[in-house]
Symmetry: C2
Subunit: 382 residues, 2 copies
């Protein structure tokens, strides 16, 4: 078979503020012969879908600047989570025709050499051969069944300590993680308050089961939470003033799951919003005020916990349960997956910029192969 194009996306410009059309560049500068390319004991994968996630904004910095994740190298192929079909395999116990999930370069075809050793080395982020008993679209594995779904599920499992009847507040509630948080929280019989960035997204949050939803751009966040709170659990996807309002309206012994702070990702530290009321984490609260055998009134102390959450920390404990549960709910429609698809690697810059602007609803995903894009059980919003 002849050489065919192996298109890819490189990182091409460090954005000053929000990413734009220059951030990534689509290139058709590589070829591959998929029948003869040397596998070196590994596998050849055709990538079907790639995930765009807000955390990637952190990687768009000068490579010499210290940071929390490795910077994208200038003119290097971008990397992120993807799902692919195994075209050929020399790997141990890995069959051609199977599907695989993991950290991948943004290209059409990729060879992963020495697969088994690699899986070990990459621990939680390693490539994983997928099983799909309900025949869900493969791109679900970078969304509802990938980092987004697992973040929602693990976050609500342990850190949040959900108690039936308590009140959960979720921000970015129509986003990749948020819209799943709403639905899982309702399955846990929590009361759900949702904040979103548009009236359309508010309507979606209500359709997905939120008991109350509001548009943070046109509402007083603290007032909404005062009226419908106090909050026992806050699932934070945005940070900034919303976090401050949530702290202000936290119930005693509230649990805050800090999942992301997308409102802050384009800011330099000096421009970032400062949360001014953290001392309330160890605040004192009145429980009863009627006691008066002398002038003192009766009160109790309370505390609030705020914990950073990243799914890989919890996958070892809950991954099996997740895959035993959520695919079934997605297949039955008990949980609806909302995604915003972009077609082809060439849409990477636009898709990422729109995601950070809040113009996408649900999970942002790049579909490389039309076959996986059928919204069989999913709900497509575009």
């Amino acid at each position: 078979m002849p050489q065919i194009l192996n298109p890819r996306v490189v990182f091409s410009s460090i954005p000053e503020g929000p990413p734009d059309a220059e951030t990534f560049t689509y290139l058709e500068d590589e070829n591959i012969d998929i029948e003869t390319v040397d596998l070196d004991g590994g596998i050849l994968v055709e990538i079907l879908a790639l995930s765009l996630d807000p955390y990637m904004r952190n990687r768009m910095r000068p490579i010499e600047e210290p940071g929390d994740m490795p910077a994208f190298g200038m003119n290097d192929t971008v990397t992120g989570f993807g799902v692919g079909r195994i075209l050929r395999s020399e790997g141990d116990g890995i069959e051609a025709g199977g599907h695989i999930y993991g950290f991948m370069p943004f290209k059409k075809f990729v060879v992963f050499p020495t697969t088994t050793a690699m899986s070990l080395e990459m621990s939680g982020l390693g490539l994983k051969v997928l099983s799909n008993p309900y025949g869900l679209p493969w791109h679900y594995f970078v969304g509802a069944l990938g980092m987004s779904g697992q973040t929602a599920y693990y976050g609500l499992k342990d850190l949040a300590s959900p108690i039936s009847g308590q009140t959960l507040f979720v921000s970015a509630a129509s986003g990749a993680v948020g819209h799943l948080v709403i639905q899982i929280a309702k399955l846990q019989k929590l009361k759900v308050i949702a904040s979103c960035g548009s009236d359309e997204k508010v309507a979606l949050a209500l359709r997905l089961g939120a008991d109350h939803a509001f548009n943070y751009r046109s509402s007083n966040i603290s007032e909404e939470l005062r009226r419908h709170g106090p909050i026992d659990i806050y699932f934070d996807n945005v940070g900034g003033p919303t976090l401050e309002a949530a702290i202000e309206n936290a119930n005693m012994h509230a649990r805050f799951v800090i999942c992301g702070m997308v409102s802050q990702y384009n800011s330099k530290l000096s421009d970032s919003y400062g949360v001014r009321n953290l001392w309330l984490l160890s605040r004192y609260r009145i429980r009863r005020v009627s006691y008066s055998w002398y002038t003192a009134k009766l009160y109790i102390f309370c505390t609030c916990r705020m914990e950073g959450m990243v799914m890989t920390d919890w996958a070892p404990k809950y991954e099996k349960e997740f895959f035993d549960t959520i695919p079934r709910y997605l297949a039955s429609g008990a949980i609806k997956y909302v995604f915003h698809e972009y077609k082809g690697l060439e849409s990477t810059s636009l898709a990422f910029a729109n995601m950070l602007k809040g113009e996408n609803t649900g999970k942002t995903v790049i579909i490389l192969d039309e076959d996986v894009a059928r919204p069989a059980q999913g709900q497509k919003e575009q």
Copy 2:
């Protein structure tokens, strides 16, 4: 016996910023006959020592203003934690001559009616008859053995999850709680970094066992923590820029115990310092950067937990262990108690103002009876 004076302290002025000499007023407007006063089934107590604590700043607001603790009533007798001697008792199983700890009015003598019922009603804050097997000065029970000591002990017990060899950072390290945190942390074989507000306090922190101590007024906090960190545990007594620097220098899976934020207590919310880097709670960190089978580098995710801490939440679990352990350490000198004593109820305003200005070292305590002021095993700093 004739009537004798029963001096008291009332709340007399709501401070705009820091409390001052007008905040409290000492009055000699009440008399009591301690032999004949009606006990109504309760007990008559002579108060020996009273505790001044930064949390009391929250109570100095207009009474109609909602807040986290009941406001001090204007011209009402101030209340706080105290220790007293039982002069007479009609209470069930409570003997005259014993000593008692709990929430008390700032006066010389007080009658607590219907003692047993009251104890029940006040739950965690109730009066408690004391046992003192090591003959420690009674005022220790409002300090090293009271809220301060228990806060240090419980905070380091559970929330902090201390692991031998890890690094703890404590702010206000020569304060009521901080100086005990240093010593308990050293018993747990932690490396201790301490920040204080003067060079004298730095010297004290080092004498108490801190591995490194610095004066935050003349140092770059973040630079100090970068050099001696990263931090696995942060015991926060101050909030503000120190908290921000600690977040910046947190190790993976760090635990932040939010005990108090004294730097913020005089501020209105709008003037409060905003912590700008909370998104780092769910930051990503590089563990190894050598992996390069394609352009990706290997990293792992990490999280940081921040939890409000108030001792009453933990007393049910650890109080017995605390009283089995700490009095013995105090008696043997394994833990040194540092306190700053003021004599007489008339010193309340001055003592409180000095405490919030950082002019006291260790625990601030008002001594009403000279007999309990002997620094038998304690170290007195004034």
